[in-house]
């Protein structure tokens, strides 16, 4: 295992202290992406490899302009200070992740959330989509998991054919390093729909977290990025993100997913977080008035959130002052619902040191380690067979 004490000076502005080594640190959103279709060739069936050779990956995108270089931090990228390993580096390179993130902050575990295959769920051909996901998963296992015991993995899954999704979960779900699946917010239907339930059943059976990461909205067969249609700019889709997370959370609760699959846990990544407070209050009020429509929802909706849904912290919103910030954390029950996520290596990432004001120690432990550890069922600390 390649780990180093977290003693290096790093680049986060304002960061002058040393990483805490006595408190665990789990990062619930680290992206690994293929840099070219050829990365997948060794893992693709011949027929699909040929299709990719002839016509590319054919994964739909929405066409919005984010920022160059796949939205990666330029301090990690080619021709900028910091890249040491790959002239084509867009940040998603294992050695860069190790040297500039995992080692710096003494990360115990980092969840690889992919990104290359978020669009697989909206590829029209479900067999091709499933093959893409399998190939990407095998590539991830070989090129990332095998290289660092701190890495755990959210499988790429296409929902195009739920039975194929279940097959992929059966294939890899027993690997102890596989702790989740990851799907995009943009898809054909809200995730409470019974169409998806065989996948959730397989997740529960294997103890995998259902991950939902921002992405895909407005692309391919997915619905538009907002409830009122297509905005003009990326910044608008970004500002309006919480409505997608809310729609999925509401759907999961109202369709009784947590009654059917009481062990299922959901991680919602990169949709910010303070919406959770308002949504819990909103859902509880509506449930008290209209629960006759969904009598299988037997508990207050907020209780399902507290027991089943976790929200990645990034992009952590900045309140007008610390007092308001702490009030919002309190209102969303951050001690149960919030998990630290960095969104490595993207421009809008959140480092562990400057993202939060100083938190009370108990809350710090919940947000930076304990909530995620319980969600993924991980050991207390990742010693990887040696102290670090």
């Amino acid at each position: 295992m390649t780990t180093m004490p977290g003693t290096r000076i790093i680049t986060a502005p304002g960061w002058t202290g040393q990483p805490r080594t006595d408190i665990g640190l789990i990062d619930c959103d680290v992206h690994q992406v293929i840099t070219k279709p050829e990365d997948l060739y060794p893992y693709l069936p011949r027929i699909y490899k040929q299709q990719v050779i002839e016509q590319g990956l054919r994964i739909p995108t929405s066409g919005y302009f984010n920022v160059p270089q796949n939205a990666a931090r330029t301090d990690l990228a080619a021709n900028c200070d910091g890249d040491k390993h790959n002239p084509f580096n867009d940040g998603s390179v294992y050695e860069t992740l190790r040297d500039e993130h995992l080692d710096v902050w003494n990360v115990d575990y980092a969840l690889l959330t992919g990104a290359s295959m978020y669009g697989a769920s909206i590829v029209p051909d479900p067999d091709y989509a499933a093959a893409l996901c399998s190939a990407f998963n095998d590539w991830t296992i070989e090129h990332w998991l095998a290289r660092d015991e701190r890495l755990i993995m959210a499988m790429a899954i296409s929902t195009g054919d739920p039975q194929l999704a279940v097959q992929e979960i059966e294939r890899l779900g027993s690997n102890p390093r596989v702790r989740a699946i990851m799907l995009p917010t943009g898809n054909r239907m809200p995730y409470g729909n019974r169409f998806y339930h065989p996948i959730w059943e397989a997740c529960e059976r294997h103890g995998l977290v259902l991950g939902i990461h921002i992405g895909n909205e407005g692309a391919g067969m997915a619905g538009p990025p907002t409830g009122v249609g297509y905005p003009t700019y990326y910044i608008e889709t970004r500002m309006a993100r919480p409505q997608m997370a809310m729609a999925h959370a509401v759907s999961l609760i109202a369709e009784g997913v947590f009654e059917k699959f009481p062990q299922l846990k959901v991680l919602i990544d990169e949709v910010d977080q303070f919406w959770v407070a308002g949504l819990m209050w909103h859902m509880d009020a509506d449930w008290k008035s209209l629960r006759d429509q969904t009598p299988w929802v037997k508990r207050l909706p907020s209780e399902y959130v507290l027991d089943h849904i976790r929200v990645g912290s990034q992009p952590m919103l900045e309140a007008a002052n610390n007092e308001q910030f702490m009030c919002m954390l309190d209102a969303m029950h951050a001690e149960r619902t919030l998990v630290y996520s960095s969104d490595w290596p993207h421009w809008d990432w959140d480092d562990p040191a400057t993202t939060f004001p100083k938190l009370p120690e108990r809350l710090h432990r919940r947000v930076f380690a304990d909530n995620a550890r319980e969600m993924f069922g991980l050991p207390q600390r990742n010693t990887g067979g040696e102290a670090h």
């Binding site: 059917k260 008290k288 008035s289 209209l290 006759d292 299988w296």
Partner: protein, 159 residues
Amino acid sequence: MPLNAENDLRRVVVGKASELGPGERKIVVPFRGRAGIGVFNVAGQYYALRNLCPHKLGPLCVGRVSGRPVAAAPPSSYQGVPEIALDDQVLRCPWHLWEFDLTTGQCLVDPQMRVKMYPVVIEDEQLVVYADPADLPVPPPAHTRAMQAQEVAEPDNAP
């Protein structure tokens, strides 16, 4: 109307018991700034509730009465359609639709909440409620009492 000295309740004659059939209700004195009282016949038993919802102070007793759907599992579990529990026993406030069990006053969506209830008895074939004077109208001048008594017995026009 004499006060009941023991618990300071006022005896209110609602009307002939035989005129309030199962599923029917009568709202008593819902005017002059007081909540009033709703008297309900639920399967032959009579219940009197304060006509004031503890949630938002809405006129609870003019709400819809029905049952409460229950389901063992989500419909995608294919375990049958929801059934109706507490049929004809659940009162929904017209403001925000919170549910109350007519027979206990218990709010079904908030265990901390219940609506005030009053004893109902049949005395000489008359339905009699022993009500909190605070929920009843201010006693009118003596010369209007006959008219007042008539109003008290008027059936309400609520849906």
